[in-house]
Symmetry: C2
Subunit: 520 residues, 2 copies
């Protein structure tokens, strides 16, 4: 089943829960004229003056859930441009949304009402690269895949990889603390990012763009901007410790009869291949079906590398330096899993073509699901490892009991990053219905809170999950976050309506979280 | 040469540059009586009531540079104890110094005047350990080596290692963002620490002790407490993603004729052994001599494993899963270095005994230097890799030209972590002379600023380097750090006189930094 593209309703019409804050000025022609004194006039994209499809590139999100009436999109070319723009917006109380590749999954990069967009799109130079250690300094608008292409010439790679790599910008990756499929190998961005250049809302340029691996001089302010979703400042450039490419890659496709066996295999992989296991992704059989049905496998129409149907599959990758050694280890490991009775079937890919073919079954899941149904509801929860798939089961049972499957939703899919305890529960809904979304959200986040999980593992809170922040974080934590927000953005111009819940939502969430933790 | 232990002068008498802040209350009997209502009376150590040597365990630093007249040392047993103590101190404006293992190298854990000490010493329980993923939750007072002993039973290790491992507490490691000799393998603590429990100065317990590998829900507040040296709150517990032990260890001792060759070998090691190289430590020949002279090698009196004398040595470690594979790779790499003409000589240790013997030449350097001269001045700077040893050369030339070698100092030693660009320049001084220290500091930090280096790579700022913070960080950065300090500790009771420079020092530092960066 494939649906045609249908423009989603404007977010401000769809979401009753958010009201426009009258503190923010409505943009006038005078403001636009001023922006044209800062930027070349072709870097100021005014709604109505540009084609609708260009406006939508910025004003509509990748999942087609959020759409905004943003009056103007600014494309600064330099950090100084960003500084001048923000200084003016702060003085004039103009609300702004920083936007990178616009591939975010929580609606964080789309305005809600008439906030203006400041895009990183032409802020995309590589400033320096040191081949001795692999220290990369680049601007926020560099596309992740393009950085990898550049680095690969010197034998290095960005220590981050996600299916949106061809579109997402490194600035957005930083601002959402993107995780992705190789986080189990290279750790999170708080570990890899050495420094940031950030423009604060008042136009101050925070010059923390160091390439020092170690620098314990005062507070590590940069970490505040990693994962704060553009609510504290605008990241203009980033310095990353990149990693040597490990060219000897093996990609395993493993079949299992239960999620317990998936966890067993994960534990064995960490024990037997601690220095080379780079990814360990689980997919349930329904998720594999949707990739096949939507013809998203590579090459098109090719069959799944494992013949029979099994309840669970894992795409696992190892990467090391020496081909002979890694191939030997891979064979040894597959044999070991079989002997232990953990896997039902398995295949190993070694050529570039085979590797891409194996990975396509995982990497094309989001696209296939989006294509399968007019509206998809994507979750991104963290849970203790043994509970990870129980959420999917519980959700499926609940949706069946509620009579949702059929009339409202197509199915309940479960796939995700086992090693990070990160499940992407996904529900293809048959219509874009806010009440349905809220009903499902309430169930999923309530269940997650019971097991002390997180309502967002790697996608961030954005607009989508702000009502549920307090399901994961205590009021004490949120109160201290608000204090930090006030320090950097006292006028609240940076990405408003995002991340923070309303007071009522916070109180409700605190209640749910406390009850869940008390085991009620 | 060996000096006898001589008690250092009280810090408040030695340092003219710091004045006692009259905002802070002087402790009274009433305060001590109150502390005894919070803690069992034997957990309240009052100066004069306890033996002098017990008082010195807390009031004197490991390097014998700082000593305090602290009137009372509190040993809380629980997080609630810490909360009650801080709440009272905040109300009463009593200044406090959080102290862990007291092995810090910048004087951060010793009071300057009459601040009280709150020690983590009996806050040392392991709260939980999950063998599936290696998630450890423990209290701040756990000794690093003891955590490793505990974890090793399940095949895991703390992703941090330093020579003070037998004494330092994990809470202090967190608060100073300790780096150590395996940071190049496991990254920094911002990457490994999943959550913290922190008591804020007003007694609020910040409950962020999660074991989720991924949790992008709002600001990552925990990172503010990693490396803030107890100036924002008191870390009571920590949750760490530990690492599988890689049992197949090879330790290399390599000899070089120049630092350029050391850098070449480092680059080759990262290229050839990207997934297994775990440590890469350089020592110059004078540093090796001092370990030998002070008889700190293991076993005592044993000779250096390389016969001839060479200008530079490297202790390098690789660690992997499979012994056959790692031994093969090690032999291959040593042969490769020889063929490339990079090394002059080499040895590889494989048995536990040999490995300890090789490492003893590196790990005992701080102890040997401290024993060699009454006073040692330890630096911990970050620099671009090619400049790393030039600092030592420049300092040696400068000290010779100034006529310091002989009358004032014994020598200039250089050793450190090549991969992290972290040089431990060390100067054994013949007396504890503040003017001499300032003279040398000015030279070293001025030189470091010229190359955009950092005055503290991993030891933190503490009391020692606060005058030099602005040599590394801009006034904009420092201004924002001060704002963060005001958010969490508006009354300034947490570890006062540390980290931040005075206004004059900041202005001077800003000038030095700007001049250096402008190439003047």
């Amino acid at each position: 089943m494939t649906h045609g593209f249908q423009l989603t309703e404007l977010t401000c019409d769809k979401l009753d829960r958010v009201k426009r804050d009258p503190r923010y000025k409505k943009i006038t022609d005078k403001d636009i004229a001023y922006f044209k004194t800062i930027l070349p006039h072709w870097r100021v994209l005014v709604q109505g003056e540009i084609p609708e499809e260009v406006h939508l590139e910025y004003a509509n999100d990748w999942y087609n859930v959020y759409r905004a009436n943003t009056p103007v999109i600014l494309l600064p070319e330099t950090t100084e441009h960003v500084s001048e723009i923000l200084k003016y917006c702060n003085q004039e109380s103009i609300a702004v949304v920083p936007q990178s590749g616009n591939t975010g999954a929580s609606g964080g990069s789309i305005p809600v009402f008439d906030e203006i967009i400041i895009s990183t799109r032409v802020l995309n130079r590589i400033r320096s690269f040191d081949e001795l250690r692999g220290d990369l300094v680049c601007e926020a608008g560099c596309v992740l895949q393009e950085l990898d292409n550049f680095l690969s010439q010197a034998g290095f790679q960005v220590p981050l990889d996600l299916p949106a790599r061809h579109l997402c910008h490194i600035g957005g990756n930083i601002s959402t603390n993107a995780g992705g499929i190789r986080q189990m190998r290279f750790g999170n961005l708080h570990g890899s990012v050495m420094g940031l250049e950030v423009v604060l809302p008042d136009g101050t340029i925070l010059d923390n763009l160091t390439t020092m691996r170690k620098d314990n001089t005062g507070y590590h302010l940069k970490n505040l901007f990693i994962g704060s979703e553009g609510t504290l400042g605008f990241v203009t450039a980033v310095s990353i410790a990149t990693q040597r490419i490990r060219p000897a890659v093996n990609v395993f496709l493993l079949a299992f009869c239960s999620f317990e066996d998936v966890v067993k295999a994960y534990t064995l992989a960490r024990r037997e291949l601690p220095e080379t296991v780079a990814a360990f992704e689980v997919l349930d059989s329904d998720t594999i079906e949707v990739v096949r049905d939507q013809d998203f496998q590579i090459p098109k129409g090719s069959s799944f590398p494992i013949n029979d149907t099994h309840p669970f599959y894992v795409v696992m990758e190892t990467a090391g330096k020496d081909k002979d050694i890694e191939d030997l280890r891979a064979d040894r490991f597959v044999k070991f899993l079989k002997e232990e009775g953990v896997t039902l079937d398995s295949g190993v890919a070694r050529t570039q073509e085979e590797i891409e073919r194996f990975w396509s079954w995982r990497n094309n899941v989001p696209k296939a699901i989006v294509q399968s149904a007019p509206s998809s509801i994507h979750f991104d929860v963290s849970l203790p490892l043994p509970e990870l798939y129980n959420l999917v089961k519980a959700c499926r049972e609940w949706a069946t009991a509620e009579g949702l499957i059929g009339p409202d939703i197509l199915a309940v899919y479960g796939y995700g990053h086992v090693g990070d305890g990160n499940m992407h529960l996904t529900i293809p809904a048959l219509r874009d219905d806010e009440a349905l979304r809220v009903k499902i959200d309430d169930f999923v986040y309530g269940w997650t809170a019971q097991f002390k999980g997180s309502c967002s593992a790697e996608h961030g809170i954005g607009l989508m999950k702000s009502p549920y922040l307090a399901f994961t974080k205590s009021s004490t934590m949120i109160a201290n976050m608000r204090k930090i927000k006030d320090v950097f953005d006292p006028k609240g111009i940076m990405n408003p309506y995002k991340v923070f819940p309303t007071k009522e939502q916070e109180e409700h969430g605190e209640l749910v979280r406390r009850r869940a933790q008390a085991g009620c």
